[in-house]
Each structure stands twice: as C-alpha cells, then as structure tokens.
Amino acid sequence: MALSNIFDIAGSGMSAESVRLNTVASNLANADSVSSSPQTSYKARYPVFQAVQNSLAAAGANGINGAANASVMVKGIVQSTTPGTASYDPGNPLADSNGYVYSSNVNVVEQMADMISASRSYQNDADVLNTSKQLMLDTLKLGQS
C-alpha cells in the first residue's frame, strides 16, 4: 500500500532534517570557541544528504507494486575546510607562544539560514505525514457511515 510507504519516506526526511538541525546547533554553540592552534580549532560541520532509491525490482518482488520511492539518509558529516581567523589575544589562557588564539570557522549568518531551511523542510515532512495519516484513517472508515 503506497500510503503506508509515506510514513517511511517522511520519517526519513524528518530524521535527516533533525540531524541537520543538530549540526546547526553544534555549530552555533561553538561559534565563539577558540583554540590554541589552527588544527584544533572548531570546524563547522555539515551533513551530506543522499537519496535512497528503493529499487523498483525489489519493490515489485515484495508485492508492493507501484511507484519507486526515494527516502533520504544522512551519508555522513563533513567538516568545513574554510580557515578560521587568528586573533592576537595574549591574555587568553589558550593563546599560543606568539599570543594568538584561533577561532572557529563558523559563519553564524549562514548557520541561521541553514536552520530556517531545515526547520521548513522538517515542517513540510511533518505535514505530509499528518495528511497521509488522515487519508489512511478516512480510507479505513470507508463504507462505515
């Protein structure tokens, strides 16, 4: 039944978007973190989404005929390679021998935009889930009134 597959699809979408929200939260929380070397400074993290094409042949073989669906998965988390900025702050306990601290490479504006995008997509998926649930319930009640 095609409608029940939507639970998997929208569920995978919500799960992926919540991973994205998680990375945004982590990035924003560490936006002002400093470190004593460029290597150990916090790097912004981004999830990589990938579509999972549920194979047509497999779907047909299971008796679930019909449209091929594509759920989404988080393939991995990548770290931004943008260099962070070094600032002269000899009073900082984390400063290196030259008095520099190295801040994270998080772009706060970009993260906020990302957060809104993730939240919108999550809402869309939740909406799809709700609507499909309602349709299924209506279908179950068919002929009972």
Binding site: M1, A2, A16, G60, A68, A70, N124, D127, V128
Partner: protein, 146 residues
C-alpha cells in the same frame, strides 16, 4: 449477475494511483535538500488508463467505458496483461522527471512550494474519490436494506 468491481467504477483504481502519486510527491519533499536529487511525478492519465485496462482484463468493462476519455487502446490481446502486475496497479513506467522552473547549483530539482501544492491537490482528489466510493456503498446499503 452483480459485479462489485464494475459497480464501484474507476474510483478504486483512481485511489490507488492517487496514493502512489502522493508517495512520489512525499519522496520529492523528503529529498528537498538532497544534492543532485531530481524530482519526479506520475503521468496520471497514462497510469489511470492502464489501471482501467487492468480492470477490463480481470472482470469488467463498465468501469473503463465509464472512464470516457480514459478509454484504453488495445491493439493486441497481449495488451490486456502487459501493463498490469498481479493484484494492483503498477505505475513504475509512468514515473517522469520534472522539468525544473529554476535550476539550482547543487543539481536538486525539487521546488518545495510546487510539490506542496501538488501534494495538497492530490490529497483533495483522493478525498473526492473516497467520497464517491462512500456514496456508492451507501447506495448499495440502501438497496440491500430498503
């Protein structure tokens, strides 16, 4: 002899195709942020015509003729079974890729707004089909109980 399939007409097939289309649209929405994902949709007319054809092959022709413009073209006896899978409507071959309105840098062709509206429209039509079926059943109940 009363035939329930022909009595219900095209609506059960339409419900099936609607539900599969909403699955495809849900997949588009779930992949709204996936790089390289290409949005798809079902060629509804072709899918429903094939669904009607399958029904003709199984039992009735009333539903197909009721379909009017959806009248299937059969050119060989094999056509009756060619587009049907056992026990339902197969829409795999009617999946088409959407032509994007505006290309995006990451190769994703999902337009969330378009998909949302298509999904809503599809659901309303699903509900409409359900209502038609509901009426059929209540007519039947009236006929039986008097």
């Amino acid at each position: 002899m009363f035939n329930l399939d022909s009595y219900l007409g095209i609506q059960p097939d339409a419900l099936e195709v609607y539900s599969q289309r909403s699955e495809v649209l849900a997949a588009n929405l779930a992949n709204a942020d996936t790089p390289g994902y290409q949005a798809r949709d079902i060629d509804f007319r072709a899918a429903l015509a094939a669904a009607g054809q399958g029904q003709e092959g199984s039992a009735s022709s009333a539903a197909v003729s009721a379909g009017g413009a959806l009248q299937p073209q059969t050119t060989s006896p094999d056509d009756l079974t060619a587009n049907t899978s056992p026990g339902g409507v197969s829409t795999e071959q009617y999946l088409k890729y959407r032509v994007p309105l505006a290309p995006s840098l990451d190769g994703n062709t999902v337009d969330s707004q378009m998909e949302e509206s298509a999904f809503a429209q599809n659901n309303v039509r699903y509900e409409a089909s359900l209502t038609f079926l509901e009426d059929r059943f209540s007519d039947l109940t009236t006929a039986i109980t008097g």
